[in-house]
Symmetry: D2
Subunit: 341 residues, 4 copies
Amino acid sequence: MTESKKLNVGLIGLGRLGRVYARDLATRIACTRLVAVGDVSQAAVDEVVRELDVPRGYTTSGEVIADRSVDAIVIVTPTATHAEVTKMAAAAGKPIFCEKPLSISLEQAVAMRKAVKDTGVFFQLGFMRRFDRGFAAAKKQLEAGAIGDAVVFKSSSRDPYPPTVEYADPRSSGGLIIDMGIHDIDLARWYMGEVASVQAIGGVLAYPELGSVGDIDNAIVSLVFQSGRLGVIDLTRNGIYGYDINTELLGTKGTLRIGYLRETPLFVMTKSGVTHDTVPFFMERFGDAYRAQLENFAQNVLRGQEPPITVEDGVQALRVAVAATRARETGQPVAVAEIGI
Amino acid sequence: MTESKKLNVGLIGLGRLGRVYARDLATRIACTRLVAVGDVSQAAVDEVVRELDVPRGYTTSGEVIADRSVDAIVIVTPTATHAEVTKMAAAAGKPIFCEKPLSISLEQAVAMRKAVKDTGVFFQLGFMRRFDRGFAAAKKQLEAGAIGDAVVFKSSSRDPYPPTVEYADPRSSGGLIIDMGIHDIDLARWYMGEVASVQAIGGVLAYPELGSVGDIDNAIVSLVFQSGRLGVIDLTRNGIYGYDINTELLGTKGTLRIGYLRETPLFVMTKSGVTHDTVPFFMERFGDAYRAQLENFAQNVLRGQEPPITVEDGVQALRVAVAATRARETGQPVAVAEIGI
Amino acid sequence: MTESKKLNVGLIGLGRLGRVYARDLATRIACTRLVAVGDVSQAAVDEVVRELDVPRGYTTSGEVIADRSVDAIVIVTPTATHAEVTKMAAAAGKPIFCEKPLSISLEQAVAMRKAVKDTGVFFQLGFMRRFDRGFAAAKKQLEAGAIGDAVVFKSSSRDPYPPTVEYADPRSSGGLIIDMGIHDIDLARWYMGEVASVQAIGGVLAYPELGSVGDIDNAIVSLVFQSGRLGVIDLTRNGIYGYDINTELLGTKGTLRIGYLRETPLFVMTKSGVTHDTVPFFMERFGDAYRAQLENFAQNVLRGQEPPITVEDGVQALRVAVAATRARETGQPVAVAEIGI
Amino acid sequence: MTESKKLNVGLIGLGRLGRVYARDLATRIACTRLVAVGDVSQAAVDEVVRELDVPRGYTTSGEVIADRSVDAIVIVTPTATHAEVTKMAAAAGKPIFCEKPLSISLEQAVAMRKAVKDTGVFFQLGFMRRFDRGFAAAKKQLEAGAIGDAVVFKSSSRDPYPPTVEYADPRSSGGLIIDMGIHDIDLARWYMGEVASVQAIGGVLAYPELGSVGDIDNAIVSLVFQSGRLGVIDLTRNGIYGYDINTELLGTKGTLRIGYLRETPLFVMTKSGVTHDTVPFFMERFGDAYRAQLENFAQNVLRGQEPPITVEDGVQALRVAVAATRARETGQPVAVAEIGI
C-alpha cells in the first residue's frame, strides 16, 4: 500500500472535540495533513498550532477556507454556525466534513442541502457510531442475513451527567431528543429505513434546573417505520452509572445486541460482590470511531468515492427528531411527513 | 422450626402449568398437602391422582370446592373460567390463589373483585415474577435507596416461539399486550406506582398467521405514571434466540438491571467465537418463582397474613393492559382513567 | 411414563447434607420413598421423622440396613464410617449410594472395594458435580468433538470461608487436597482419563489456625495424565468473594469453560461501578445436582443399570489425591503408581 | 501542559512490531520524534522512511546509534542481537528502550546488565502488559489493599495459533516457557515479589511439528515465591478460540481478575445460542499498552525519571523462566537460586 497521497485539511472549530480531531488529523491518520486550523479564539489557535506544528492558524472560517493549501474542510464549530460555514466552503468548492447534527433548525438544514446540491461539493456528515466496530459489525451481520428481517429497533443513549443549563437550552441544543436522540435516529434509519411516524413521552425527572430553560432530562420515543416495523429509543441525562450506549436489532431469526459498559478489563471481587467499572463518557467510548470516521472522509475525498453519510441523512434524521420533539410536546403521534422540508 | 401445620389444598385445572403446581403442592412445598384435584378431563385427573397419590379427584370445580377436606383453592383453569370458579370458591369462603391474568374482561375482573370484597375471602393473584430472586432483590434494593428515585421503568418480554393461532386469538387471549404484557405491567405498578396514560404501537411482523385472527406479534408500550415518571415495555413473539425476560429501573443515583439469558453454565469457545445457550422458556426461567409463590400463598393463609398481590392488583394491571391495547388499535394516547371499572 | 415403581430408601447420617438428602428422597424425587432414617442422635432422628413423615427412625446403621422395608441404602455418615457401613450394607446385599469421598484412607477404600466386589452389591459413589448441568453438558460437548482432543484440564475450587479447625484436621479430613481436591480429581479422571503423576505446592497463607492442626489453606496441583496430557488444579479456603467452582477443558479445536459465580440475576449499577452478588456456598451451587444424583441412583437400582460412578472411581480419585498430598509434603513429583492399592 | 520538549528517537529493527513502534513514535506519541530507523533490510528501511517521513534510515545499528540527531534508542531487533545492540548504545551513552525478552541467554542478559551498570545509561525493558489498563488498574487496587494480601498468583497466556517451526526452535526462541511465559513471570514478580522455586510440566499435545525442533506447545508452571505465596501459569500455543490473556490475584480479602476476550462489542443471538467474537492476537489486545509503554519511556528520559522496568527485571524474569524450563525438562523442582547469574 502506498500512502504517498495525503489530504491537506483545514479544521474549523477548536472546542473539545475539535482539538481531538486536530490531533487525529495531524498525527494519527496516515492519509491526512492538518495544514490549517481556525477558531474565534486566538489563544486556542495558537495553542493547537504550537502543539501540533500546524502550518497556519486563523481566527475566521473564511480564512481557513480561502487558504490555498487547504484541500478539504472539517467543520466542528458550534452547531448554529454549521450552515454558514458549510455554505462558504461549498461556494469555494472544497470537500466538507461536518460534525453532527447538521443543524437544529430544519430550515437551515434544508438550506445546507441546497448549497451542497447547487455546488455539487463533496459533503460528509459526522455520525461516528456508524464507524464504531460494534455498530459496523452489526450492519454487516444484518446484511448477511444473520437475524433474518430486523423487525424491531431498540436503542438507548445515556449520558453519565447532565450538561450545563446553558448547553441544554433548547434554543441552542434543540432539546434532549434532538441533542442526544439524533444518534439513535440516524442508526434507526441506517439499519431499518425511513420513519413514518413517532410518539414520544418525556419529563424533567432528575435535574429540575434543566426544566428551567424548557428542556427535559428523560424521554422515550416510539417509531413506526414506513415498512411497518417498530422502534423505540430511550434517552436519559441521568445515566449516573456510566456512559451507556446500546442498540438492539430484533429479527425474525435472531437478535443483534451492540454495546458494552466495562471500561477497564478488571473485576474486583470481594465479599461485597463482583464489580467492574464503566465507560466514563463519549471520548472513551467512541474515540476510535471518531478517528475512523475522519480517515474514511479523507479516503473518500482522495479516491473520489461517495460519502457514506450525506447531507440528506442529516436532513432526514433532524426531521424525525423534530417530529419526535413535537410529539413529546403535544402528547400526540406525529407523522414525519407532516414536518415540511 | 416446626412445620406441623399444613394447608390442605384443592387444585382446579390440570393443564401444563396446573400439573406443575400439583407436583409442587404435593411434593415440593413443605407446608401444603394436595388433597384434591379437579379438571374437566377425567383422564388428566386420574393420571395426576395416581402419580402424586392425591386422595381425591373430581371433574367439576364445584366438587373440589365443596370437598370438606379442602381448606384452600388454587385456580389454574383457563382464564375465561377464573371469574366463575372464583365466585364459587368465594361463596364457599375458601381462601383462593388464582393464576394470572385475573381475566381478559374488565367486566369479569370487576365482578371478581366484588365477589372477593363481598365475601371477605382471602384472595391472592399469581404474578410469579415478583417471587423471582432477581425481581425480588431489585425491589429490596429499590426500597433501600440503592438507585435513588426510580424515574424510568424499562421492561422486555420475549417468547422464543409463537403460540398457536387458537391460543393467540384475542377473544380468548386478550391479544399480545394483555397476554404477555400483563406481567410487565404488574412489575411497572409494583416498582413505580399507578399508570396515568399509555401509548402503544404494534404490528404483525414475523408470523402472518397471528394476524389472521386479529392479533399482533410485536408491540411497544410507553407509560406515563401518575407521578410523571416514564416507562416502556417491548413485547415480542419472535424472541427466536430464547426466552428473554428483563427489566431495568433507571434511577437518579443508579440503575438496577434484572434478568439473565444463559441456561447452562458452559461456554463453548472455538474459532467461531464464544457461545452460550439460552433459557428455553418460562418453566425453566420461573420454575422456582412459581413454587415460591405457592408457598407464599400457603403461608399467608396459614398465618392470617394479607396477600401480597390482590384482586385489585389484577383489576388495575388489566385496566392498563386494556388501555394499551386500545392505544395500539387507535394510534392515540389513552388515559387509564378513561377505562371505566 | 408410569412412575408406579419406587425405591424404598433407608438414609444413614442426618448431618447438614444428610437432611437435604432426606428431604430430596422424601419429597422431591418422584421415584423414591424415604422409609427409614438413622443417626447416632436420637433428636436428629426424631426431628426428621416428624418433619418428613418418615415411617421409621433408628440410632444405628445396622437397624436401618436390617429394616425389611428398606430396599437401598444412602450413606451420608462421617467419612471415617463409610467403610464400616458399606461393608454392613454390602453383606446385607442392599444397593448402596455412598457420599464422597469413599474414605480418606486408601486402605479402607480398598477394603470397601473388596466388599463391593465380593458381594456383587450395587454401589454408586457420590460426586455430584458430574450431575451439574454445566459439567454434564461439557462432557457431552467433549464427546461430540466440539473442542477436538482435550489436552489441558484446568480446575479451581474455592470455598468462601474456612472450615473449623476440628473439621480441617487432616486426621479426619485428609487435608485440603483430599478434602476439596477430590472433586476436581474426579472430574479430571472423568474428562481426561487416568493420572500418571502429580506435583503440588501449598501453604498456610490466609488462616494460620489451620496450620496449627497440620493443614494448609491453599494448594496448586499439577497433573500429567497417562496419555501425556496436562492438568492443573488450584484449591483455596479463602475464596472470600464467593463459592467459586470452575473447570476448563482446553482442546485442539476449542475450549469448554464451566461454571458461574452470579447467584441473583441482578446488576446494581451506580457511580461505584456495576456489581453482582456471588454464589454463597455449595448447597446453592449444587442443590440441583445433589438431587439429580440421588434420582439417578434410584433409577439405576430400579432399572438394573450400572452405576456411573463406581467404587473404583472412588479408589482411584483418592489415590491421586493421596499422591498429590505426598507431593505437596515432599516437594517432589509423585508417580501415582507409587501409591500402592 | 506544554509539550514543546520532544525526544528524538532512533529505532532499530523494522519487523512487524518494529513497524508498529515506528508509527507510534512518529505519529501517535506527542513527546517523541522518530529521527532515524535502522534495519538490515534496505527495503524495509526505505519503506518506513518514506511512509513516515523519517529523516534518516540506516542498515546497521551502529549508524543509528552514532547519528547525532538521535537522543535515545529503541531496540526491537531479534532477541539474539539485543545484547550487542544494547552494549553499543550503552557505550554511546544513549538512553535505551529494549523490547522483551532481554535475551534468551542468561549469560548475555548478565552481560547486558553489566554494560548498563558500568555505563550508568538509562535502560528500560519492554513488558507491555504492565501498561495495559487492566493490569495497571489491578496493581493500583492491590496496593490500595482492595484484596488484602495477594496469596495466589494465577496467570494464563494462550496464543491463537502456533508460531512457525523456525520461530519456535528453542535455540532462538528459548522454548515455550521463555518465549510466552516471560510475560506472566514478569507479572508474577511485579505483583508478588521474587520467586524462590518452580515446578513445571509440559508436552507436545497439539502441534507435533513443534516437537521436531525440541519445543513443546503446552506447559504448566507452579511457583513458590520467597514469601511462601503460590503461583501458577499455564501456557498454550493452541488457544484456538482467540488470544486469551488473563491473570488473577487471589487475596485474603478478595480477588482481582484481569483480562477480556470479546473483541467486538456485539452479541449475535440466534437459535444456536448467544455468540461473541474473540481477540485475534496481541496487537489488538495490547496495541494501546505498547504505545503507552513507549510514551512512558520517552517521558522518563525527558524528565530524568527512573525506568519502571529495569535490566534487573529482565535478568530475574529470565532466570525464573530458565529455572522453569529446566524444571520442565527434568521433571524436578528447581530452586531459582540454583540458576547462577
